[in-house]
Amino acid sequence: MRFLNKTWVNGMALGLLLLGIGTALNANAQSANVHNANSHNKPMKHAKRIQLATGAALAPDGRLWVVGLNDRGQMFLQSSPAQALGQWSAPVILNTQQDEIAADGESRPKMAFGPNGWAVVTYTQPLPKPYTGFVRMLRSADGGQSFSAPFTVHQDRQEITHRFESILFDAQGNLHTLWIDKRDLPPKGVGPKYIGAAVYGNVSKDGGATFGPDYKLADHSCECCRIAMSNTADGKVAAVWRHVFGEQTRDHGFALLPAASSTVSSTAQGQTKIPVRSTFDNWQINACPHHGPGLASNTSQTGFHMVWFGIRKQDGQDVAGVRYARLSATGEPLLNTLKTIPDPRAEHADVLSHKQRVVVVWRSSDGSTSTLKAWISEDEGQSFSVKVLGQTQGPNDHPRLVQRAEKMLVVWRDTKEIKVYDVSQ
């Protein structure tokens, strides 16, 4: 053992130390690589909680499509033939490039069909900073058989709110996208306070291949409710959303979207865009109702049917409720059309109409049992009758309404299945 002199021992010990550190770091790096490989395989960011919010759309051939997240957090598409609604094809997984996807409550993936075989799927991609997101889209030119990679719809790329998107093709085949946007908020501590957020939008004339500039539809929207859109009888698109009037009055704003042919400019600095006021609950609250309105064009006359949630003072008491009213063609509420849905637990109502028939659908939950109810009118909303459509236990999505001409369907997803209810007649 003469070779074990002092220098050799020190050298060898140092070598072993370095080897040890190297081994340790390598082991940890391998562990991290395994983690990354798994997370890149498919997003598994919310393994426990199944996000049930699902979008639905009727294709020109009458086929019903749904888009949502499966229990592994992957975005899937399924369809069901017009003759056998509810008999779903095998789910097809869409390539969303590991985007985190919001699919809960009012923020659901969406799908829409246009002319020329165009179809689009959209979703909000939450970004790392809370309350921020990008509106993402996948487009198809073959009626939903194949889709592009996802892309961001808006031009603004700040890590701020671009969320709660809504999409609709107009009668000319232009794709309108709206979303809640906070680009107009000044930096914290700089300038006057900007109340709420804004509603921004853009238009694509080629089914999502290219987009016009972002434009501002309204200042001071509420920040976390869905936006309702509807085609009008004269080929335009109307929208209604929860809006902050004054300092903290949360009612609803209405606007007709600019035509695709008009020159829409980006934000005009300093110019506040105030929408038409469609509801007058006068709800004074600085909170997030997360309870957006529903809007349907009145196809037998001009104007619209609208449903919304709000709290209003009645005899000195705060009375919460989901209410219905008819709107004029320019979005003002019509006198003597206001009604309250006869269910104090009603939530996330939506509305459809065709000719004289108006269908309001909502969920009513006591925490364990949820009931799907419909309020049906055959006289353009003058009188209604309640009908129970279905019931389920445990977690479930809000009811999603879809329509193509006289065909009116309700899609309702729970943890076991996606049910379809035909409310056409």
Binding site: M1, K48, R49, T161, E223, A287, C288, H290, A320
Partner: protein
Amino acid sequence: MMFLNNLPRNMDTSQLKRILMFKRYLCFALLLPLFVVQNLKAQDHKHDPKHNTVNGQSVSARKLSSTETFHEKSWAQLLKSGPRPAAYLFTTTYCSTCPAAFDVLHHAVKEKGQAVPLMAVMMDASGAKALRHASHFKGITKMYAFDGFEPEIRQSVDPAWPNVTPYVVMIDAKGNAQKVIGPPSPEMLKRWLY
């Protein structure tokens, strides 16, 4: 290793010392990887919801490193045996008006100079996704996270609570609860803490 254990009998003291020093270094070098890996893994697990590192005392939101599970029976338990006075703010990941309401609670507590626990209950996310929001709640003592069906919580806390956040419950020293949607008024804060 055997050659180091079978030491020759005729070895001198300095040789023995060198061999023992070598063995010491070798053991250290072999144990080091285990120590480093365990330490790094422990850091990774800081976001494990099972590890609750705060209890009762207000800590900086940035230091909050875990959430505690909230379930449909939690509320009854907290009302029965939770801290008093205390406040609970029910929130969601999309509720951008919630931090401002929490600020109102925090400011009231600071002004009063009391160590009152301020809790946030995240209703639509758990784990790291919920914790991502903790830094927006200044003065937070603890974050609960619910991993189920939101109406279940609402039913257990207040069946008349519509789906609106923030929903704030302030419990005073005697156990009386005040509930409000949105930021509490100065009168409510006064009743809560004075």
